[in-house]
């Protein structure tokens, strides 16, 4: 098969998000932020969110990572800005399911937008952690926010 199989993972949209990450950098109006590491490889992601009235008003990310984690982070910001915290956490669960090859509702798939494309990572088990790292970070951030509010 060889390297061409990688086309399944590194699709054009994925590369586009990696090359031109959306919502990358610091968020001055952030109400909370969370840093998460992949202890296996040392990659770091820093997620910053501005949450108001139970809604993610704005969201950015920062850090060091591979194409997949950077692209996934960019897609995540696009999908989740404007969502309620509850919806966002449900979408995070949906995304996690996609990455291990489970099916999700059409509605969730639509809401995930570009990010749904990363479902093909299920065929590259060693890279699932790369894809989910930013989403785990945001999920932890939202969980903390919920318990503190």
């Amino acid at each position: 098969m060889g390297i061409s199989k990688l086309n399944l993972l590194y699709k054009e949209t994925v590369l586009d998000h990696a090359q031109h990450p959306r919502h990358h950098g610091k968020l001055s109006a952030a109400t909370s932020h969370l840093e998460l590491r992949n202890p296996t490889c040392g990659d770091v992601i820093d997620v910053q969110a501005q949450i108001e009235a139970d809604t993610i008003v704005d969201l950015t990310f920062d850090g060091i990572g591979c194409t997949i984690s950077q692209s996934s982070a960019s897609m995540m910001t696009v999908a989740l800005i404007g969502q309620s915290v509850t919806n966002a956490r449900e979408l995070i669960t949906s995304f996690s399911k996609l990455t291990i090859g489970e099916s999700i509702s059409t509605q969730a798939d639509e809401s995930l937008g570009d990010a749904a494309i990363l479902g093909t990572v299920a065929q590259f088990p060693a890279r699932i952690k790369c894809a989910t790292l930013p989403w785990h970070a945001l999920d932890e951030l939202l969980e903390k926010w919920e318990t503190q509010k």
Partner: protein, 412 residues
């Protein structure tokens, strides 16, 4: 019962050999068990197809290896009904598990003047770590007496466990006396007094269904090699909030979150306590041992061993000159039977039995305080597993007679 439970004996090639020109009867299962073909095959399969280091690479072999290693953890989690996989930590052995608790958790909770309560039937591995902890912390090590039958004296337990008690550490099943202790009851007692309950499961997990949530113990330890898996792999179960509060005691690969030149932070559970390359093939083989045991059924194993004990214990008691330690009633007696013969030293008896092809252990069974308590220097111990048969039991009984005669009825 000719070939053990469900003909399982046939899965153990080692059993089909002669020892000193006599067919082997292996009755040293409390020390370590034999390994079925399926478990050995799982080791070979792993090394012939998937071997790589875990948690460390993005390549295919590393992924396969990590999956196999971690799904063995899931099997263990289900087997002892642990609430989640993060509560199941790989160690080398029961001994390492208990030392990890005594060092890390003991350090956290035990203070000068506190009491640690154990019993005289503990294996050195569930005894010396508490002695050391007590000495270091100026705490007090107390013992719960045994009844004349060798069972834990629960009345005395109620006296010994007090509000001063910080830790109660008791074995689930004795490796000498064949008794099973009422762990659920002792745990309740410990918790009523605000103490933590630690249970040594080395002799129970291989022989009965164990549910750590039902027992409500705070920690539980056991070894793979006493339950069909290879040596070098053991398990520590702990309640998640306690494990989270504890500090690791070994540092290095795997257990790291981030390392700077002058400081470091730890990975999440369960890896926080698993420094360095773990015994990957051992863990995978333990998973395969659990598959084998589950397939036989732990209740079936327990019933089968009970039948063997019902059969052999009365026969042994009838031999003139045999003294049995522990309960004489076969009901609820595990397949561990300790005895002495006339005034013979256990070594002489065991050498005699070995000449007859029968492998039993002679010595203090890593329970010297129990020997002192029983006022003997050592005992002979025969211990059964599900692949032993009534024929094995008969061979034991007859050979004890032969040994007796050889040594002129003990009048050597």
């Amino acid at each position: 019962m000719d070939n053990g439970l469900n003909n399982s004996r046939l899965d153990f090639k080692i059993l089909a050999q002669n020892i000193n020109d006599e067919p082997l009867v292996y009755l040293d299962n409390a020390a370590t068990t034999q390994k079925p073909k399926a478990v050995l095959q799982s080791i070979i399969n792993y090394y012939e197809h998937d071997n790589a280091n875990v948690h460390r690479g993005v390549h295919t072999l590393s992924q396969r290896s990590t999956n196999a290693f971690e799904s063995a953890r899931d099997k263990i989690t289900a087997f002892i009904n642990a609430p989640s996989r993060e509560t199941v930590i790989y160690t080398r052995s029961t001994t390492e598990s208990l030392n990890l608790i005594a060092t890390s958790f003991g350090n956290l909770v035990v203070e000068a003047g506190d009491e640690i309560v154990i019993s005289p039937m503990e294996h050195h591995s569930n005894l010396v770590p508490w002695q050391q902890l007590a000495a270091k912390k100026h705490a007090i090590l107390k013992y719960i007496n045994l009844t004349v039958d060798g069972e834990l004296d629960m009345n005395h337990a109620r006296q010994q466990i007090t509000d001063k008690t910080k830790i109660v550490a008791i074995t689930h099943a004795s490796n000498v006396l064949g008794v099973v202790n009422p762990i659920q009851e002792i745990t309740k007692l410990a918790h009523q007094h605000g103490a933590y309950m630690i249970c040594d499961g080395a002799q129970s997990v291989p022989h009965m269904k164990v549910d750590v949530q039902l027992l409500d113990v705070d920690f539980y330890a056991f070894s793979g090699h006493k339950m069909l898996a290879p040596t070098g792999i053991g398990v520590l179960y702990g309640k998640v909030e306690l494990l989270q509060a504890m500090q690791p005691i070994q540092f290095g690969g795997e257990m790291i979150d981030f390392v700077h030149s002058q400081s470091a932070s730890w990975n999440e559970l369960p890896w926080k306590f698993e420094a360095g390359t773990p015994n990957i093939s051992g863990a995978i083989a333990l998973g395969s041992a659990i598959d084998y045991l589950t397939n036989l059924g732990m209740q079936n194993i327990q019933n089968y061993e009970q039948k063997l004990v019902n059969y052999v214990l009365p026969k042994l008691l009838k031999i003139d000159g045999v003294t049995i330690y522990g309960p004489h009633n076969p009901t609820n007696h595990t397949g561990v039977i300790s005895f002495n013969l006339d005034n013979l030293h256990p070594h002489d008896v065991a050498s005699g039995l070995d000449m007859e092809g029968i492998e039993v252990r002679a010595g203090h069974h890593c329970a010297q305080p129990l020997m002192e308590y029983l006022n003997v220097a050592a005992t002979v111990r025969a211990s059964f597993y599900f692949y032993n048969t009534k024929a094995d039991a008969d061979r034991l009984v007859n050979s004890i007679q032969t040994v007796k005669e050889f040594f002129n009825n003990g009048d050597i």
